[in-house]
Every structure is written in C-alpha cells, then in structure tokens.
C-alpha cells in the first residue's frame, strides 16, 4: 500500500479560482522533484559538447576582458579605490550573469517543459526555481575564475568576503521576482520571449557592470538604485573588493525594497495564473 502516507489523507477541493490552502507545504512535499529537475538540467547542460563545463567560463571571461579594455583603457573610467579594474568588472559581472541567466533560464523553463505541465501535477513554481538552481551552478564555476584573477593580480580580499553568501542569496531573490513574472507572462503571451533578449542586452549597460556605480553623479545615485541589480552589484563589490568599495546605503536600501516588491509581485502573479498554465501552454 501507499508508502509515503502517514495518518488521515488530507482532503483536496478543486474549484475554479480556488487558492491552494497548503501551497507552501505542497512545494515542500515536492522538494525531491525540484532537486531532480535541477539535477537533470545541470547534467544535460553540457552534454555532447567538446569543452563541456568550460563554456560556463568563456562568456564572462571574454566580456570581462572587453569591458576592462573599453571602460578602463578607452573611456578612462576610474576603478573603486586601488582595486584592479579587471577584478572590479568581474566582481560586478558575477552577479550580473547570475541575474541574467536566471532570468532567461526561468522565463523559458515552463514553455520548454510544456510536456510535463500538460501531463502531471506539481507546484509549477518548481520549474523556474529549478532553472535558477542551474544558474547557480554556473555561477559557482565562474567564481573559480575570480580566484584565478585574484591570484594573477595578487589581490587579497578583506574580511567583508564572509558576507558574500548573503549577497548571493540577495542576487537570487532579486532575479527570482522578475523571473517569475516573466515566466508566467511568457506562458500567456509569447511576446516575452522576444522582449527578454533586449532586457538582458540593455541591462548589462544600464547596470554598473563595466563601471563602478560611484561614477554616477550623486544627485542621480538614488534614482539609479531603482534598478535592483545596482544594489546587488554594489553589495558584491563591497564584499569582494573590501575597503576599496564603499556601500551607498540609501541606494542599497531602495534596491532591497525594489527586490522585495518584485519578489512579492512575481510570486503573487505566478500563483494567480499557475492553474491555467496547462490550458495555455
């Protein structure tokens, strides 16, 4: 007989527009599926490629080289404190690639898992979050390159480094909000599939990836922080570059607020539309 079940089975009522009472517990019950979907995406990602996992390094490394040349040598922008420009760029690029790969991975995840959505039930939020977990794996690989850069430039990170996990979580939360929104909208309106590459392309220039956010004029600094990625990138630089980078608190708090707002919006919208996914996909 049923092996998983203990005690009285719970009663489930299916009705139009009815919110799931045990939503979060349901997600917890399906944690194994989450793990296995994430594992599937990771293990399939670089199958049948020659250099395999090294592909995760190629893009951020080349972008870092180009940005360093363009922004530091050509545009003559200052680094933060005495930190080497390359490390400053890379410290911004780490969270940016985490953000953008979660955004694009998650947004297409539901559509590319349409066969699952149409044939079995599970809390749908598992799919985009599993895609986010895959991005995290790439991020960790990229992180190794940061270590190599630090050795190359003989740059010693400060004690701020211990706070990095906090900012990694922040980066994930910051990406999850817009991602869930995009994912849910993409199911209904495939237009978002075409909007997304723009967002990612513009985002890298709008966000302080190739330059330090301290070059933004003081009077615009707060407005600039409306972009939630600004807070995340500043946080990363504060951790990695240590005393070389000062945190701009009002802007950082505003970014935090925006992150929370998007997260709430994303989850709310996703939950609201989740039950119609199978009909729309």
């Amino acid at each position: 007989m049923g092996t998983i079940l203990a005690g009285e089975p719970r009663e489930l009522i299916l009705e139009a527009g009815r919110a799931e009472k045990h939503y979060w517990r349901d997600i917890w019950d399906y944690r194994e599926l989450f793990a296995i979907l994430a594992w599937r995406d990771v293990s399939v990602r670089y199958k049948q490629t020659v250099i395999g996992v090294a592909w995760a390094l190629v893009q951020p490394f080349l972008t870092m080289v180009v940005f360093t040349i363009v922004f530091s040598r050509v545009a003559k922008l200052p680094s933060e404190g005495s930190a080497p420009y390359a490390i400053m760029v890379y410290a911004g690029m780490l969270p940016w690639f985490l953000f953008s790969s979660i955004l694009s991975g998650a947004s297409n995840s539901l559509v590319s898992n349409a066969n699952l959505i149409g044939k079995v039930y599970f809390p749908r939020i598992i799919v985009p979050t599993a895609a986010a977990a895959v991005a995290l794996v790439d991020f960790l690989i990229n992180f190794v390159l940061l270590g190599v850069l630090m050795l190359w430039f003989r740059f010693v990170p400060s004690w701020h480094m211990v706070f990095l996990p906090v900012f990694i979580v922040l980066a994930m939360l910051a990406s999850l909000g817009p991602s869930l929104l995009m994912t849910a909208m993409n199911v209904k309106y495939r237009d978002f599939r075409y909007i997304l590459p723009f967002v990612v392309q513009f985002g890298i220039y709008i966000s302080p990836v190739g330059f330090s956010s301290s070059v933004v004029p003081a009077k615009w600094r707060l407005w600039y922080s409306l972009n939630p990625v600004v807070g995340v990138i500043d946080g990363f630089r504060w951790c990695i570059l240590g005393g070389q980078s000062a945190l701009y608190w009002p802007g950082f708090l505003l970014s935090l607020g925006i992150v929370a707002l998007f997260l709430w919006l994303g989850i709310a919208y996703f939950r609201h539309t989740e039950q119609t996914f199978a009909d729309l996909i």
Partner: protein
C-alpha cells in the same frame, strides 16, 4: 472516515475558448492585409490589457468540453471511463489530476492521487535509462527512497537491463516504451488515474501491462481507467462512467456502460430499411426469435429489389453487445452451389438462422451480399439488433452475456471412465 467516498464531483464543467480563422480571400490587396492585421493586433492588445488570453484566429468561440458532471467514486472502486474521441475523457482526467482547474463546479478528493496520462512523461533523451527511471519516478510522484527500493523490480519488468546506462535517445521505441511503462506500473498511490496507456508495446508486453494493472486494481486501490479497449475495460473495472459530448452518465455495472457505448440506445431496431433505391437489400425484419431445445432460431424476412437476375451469397455475422463477432453464417461461402438467385424486380426471401443457445444480452447482425471470394456486393453492418431476455428457463441462474464468459453456452457431458 464517515463515508467511503474518495472522489466526489459536483456540477463539474470546463470551458475552452477556441479561435477560428476567418475565410481567406485568394487575392487580397495589401491595404486589406494591413487593415486586418491592425484590427487583429488591436483586439489582441485589448485582450492583453484586460488580462485575457490571446487566441489566434479571427473569431472566438466558447466550447464546453465538460458540462454538469456529477459522480462519486468509493474507496477501492475500479471505475472505467468510456466515450468517443472528444467526449471529454481526457479533460475530466486532467481536472481530477489537478493539471487544469474546472471552470465551474467542484471536486473533492481524499487521498494521494497519481495520474498516468502518458507513459514516459518527463523522459529526457540525453539521460541514461537509469537516470530516467529516477527522473520519471519523481515526476510521477514517487520518492527517491521508493524508487530505489523498487529499482530492480522496475528494471526486470522493463527488460532493458543491458542498456541501463545508455542514453534513452539511442533506445528503440519499444525499449523506450517498456522502460516508461515499467516505472509507471510501480506507482503505489491511493488513487490512480490512468489514461489510454496500455496500448503500447507488442502484444505480449500489453498482456503483461494489463496483468500489472489488474494487480494494482486488486489491491484495494481506487483506480480510474480510460480506454477504448472494451475488453480491457470490462475485465478491469466494476463500475463505469459514459461520457457523451461533455455529459456523463454513471453506471453501477461497467457492462451496462459498455453496452450503451457500443450500442448507442437500448431500444434496438428490429427492422432495417434501405434509403437507397438502387440497393438490392431493401428491407430486413426479424419475424421471430424462438428458443428450441438447445438453440435459438431467428427468422428473418428480406425484401430484395434488383434490376436483373443475379446469383449471390447471403452472409450474416452475429455480434455481441461489445461488437465482438460470435458466429458467421453463409449460403455461398462454404458451397458455391448454395448461392441464392435473386430474381428481377421485388421479392421476399425468408432466412432461418439457427444459433446455439445464446446468453441473455444484446446482439446485432451484419448482413452482407457477396460474390464469394470475389467481392462484397452490399455490406450492411449492424443491420439489426435484438435482445435475448430469457434463456434456460429451468436453469438455476440463466447464462448472461455480462458475466464476460462469452455468449454461447456450450454443451457438456461428464462421465467416469470405469
């Protein structure tokens, strides 16, 4: 629990919105194309602003896949859901397995549900067989520990031991399906919902699958089963639901549902009338059905109309309520000299059909006019229906078709060899 009802559907309905393409003119001016494109884009933008779905097409129509469905399923019941294509079976299963929500009404479910709407859901072609067992198992709702425990059993059932570490994209389609079914067959939920998944693999594997399903059903689990295979349905299920264009009828006995499904209505026509003036067979009527000694004798009258004299064979196939053939009678097929000469003009032919004693139930007759082994001249399927209501008056329990032991009672004599 107070009552033993595990699934209760009340007033269930599901609406879909479908779009139709308008008539397209063959030659159109660019102006028209732009105007139409703009109109359609405007409508879609409006829909989007109101948060509605974007439906392709020029006109939009509502379509009720299910309407006002009510039924109850008791614990341990094995329920068959039958209906023609498009009757709403899959939609019903999708609602019950929480894939989509109903537009109106509600369903109350007690217990863990696992649904099997397709074999191999979530299989990834790049992953190996071993990896896919874990993936597919998790997708179907098994825990990691559960899959691990049953792993060997699953592998043995699938018969693909040798290729366990090969990516499934290299599998033959048969191996793929066997592996997929093997995982599904080891699901152990309290309520199992199964769509037409037995129609996979070769005949032998199908038999194995059916056996496994019978096993599952026999262990006190509640099973909802959809299939077009009436034999599988009747052998697995006790009760049934018949869906017809979105409406449902419940039956306490699956046989009744199957009869209704394959027969259409109960009041069977006892007369066939042709609606074509050129057809040779114009009318067939049942004159009488008599029970004599150890047989049923059916007397038919056939009215023929022919432009010229011709020699034909009259063939009759007797079928039971599941439309399975029981027997065949022919004038000319077995001996050409017995062909029937049909005269010019209108004539009445009487046919006497002797059948070994039939079980209580419904039957139908197909009538063919043939030139034996050369061609079918006329082919009237399901020409007549009749019902045998009484049989073996002296028997303790008259033989019934719905027992599932066939329709013809065999004669048997037993004696000891001394």
């Amino acid at each position: 629990m107070a009552d033993d009802i595990v699934i209760r559907a009340e007033g269930l309905g599901k609406k879909y919105v479908i779009g139709h393409e308008g008539q397209r003119e063959r030659y159109v001016a660019l102006r028209d194309v732009i105007a139409r494109g703009a109109r359609s884009a405007l409508r879609k933008a409006g829909d989007m602003a109101k948060g509605r779905i974007v439906v392709p097409g020029d006109t939009v129509e509502e379509f009720w896949a299910l309407k006002d469905i009510n039924f109850e399923v008791k614990r341990g019941e094995v329920l068959g859901i039958i209906g023609r294509n498009g009757a709403g079976k899959s939609t019903l299963l999708k609602i019950l397995s929480r894939i989509t929500e109903p537009t109106e009404g509600r369903v109350t479910i007690k217990g863990r549900v696992a649904s099997l709407l397709e074999v191999g859901t979530g299989f990834h072609p790049e992953l190996t067989g071993r990896e896919n067992i874990f993936l597919n198992g998790a997708v179907l709702g098994m825990t990691h520990a559960e899959i691990k425990r049953k792993f060997d059993e699953i592998v043995a059932f699938s018969e693909v031991e040798k290729f366990l570490d090969t990516p499934v994209k290299r599998y033959s389609s048969g191996m793929y399906v066997r592996l997929a079914f093997a995982v599904a067959a080891h699901l152990e939920p309290e309520i199992l919902i199964v769509d037409e998944v037995l129609a996979v693999g070769d005949a032998e594997f199908q038999k194995k699958c059916l056996g496994k399903m019978q096993d599952v059903a026999g262990h006190g689990r509640t099973v909802l089963f959809v299939s077009h295979n009436m034999a599988a349905i009747t052998s697995l299920c006790k009760t049934g639901i018949l869906l017809r264009s979105g409406l449902a009828r419940s039956f306490s006995e699956i046989e009744q549902a199957v009869i209704e499904y394959s027969g259409g209505q109960r009041a069977a026509p006892s007369q066939y009338c042709s609606n074509s003036a050129t057809q040779v067979v114009q009318q067939i009527s049942i004159i009488s059905i008599k029970e004599v000694a150890s047989a049923h004798v059916i007397e038919l009258s056939v009215r023929t109309k022919s432009a010229q004299k011709r020699n034909v064979s009259i063939d009759i196939c007797l079928r039971d309520s599941y439309r399975s053939p029981i027997g065949f009678a022919s004038t000319g097929t077995f001996s050409l000299s017995k062909n029937v000469a049909i005269p010019e003009g209108v004539a009445l032919l009487s046919v006497n059909l002797k059948i070994p004693k039939l079980a209580i139930g419904q039957y139908s007759l197909d009538v063919f006019l043939t030139d034996p082994f050369v061609e079918f001249i006329e082919r009237i399927e399901d020409a007549l229906r009749f019902e045998v209501e009484e049989s073996d008056r002296q028997a303790v329990q008259p033989f019934q078709q719905k027992w599932g032991y066939g329709s013809v009672r065999l004669e048997m004599k037993v004696g000891w060899n001394v």
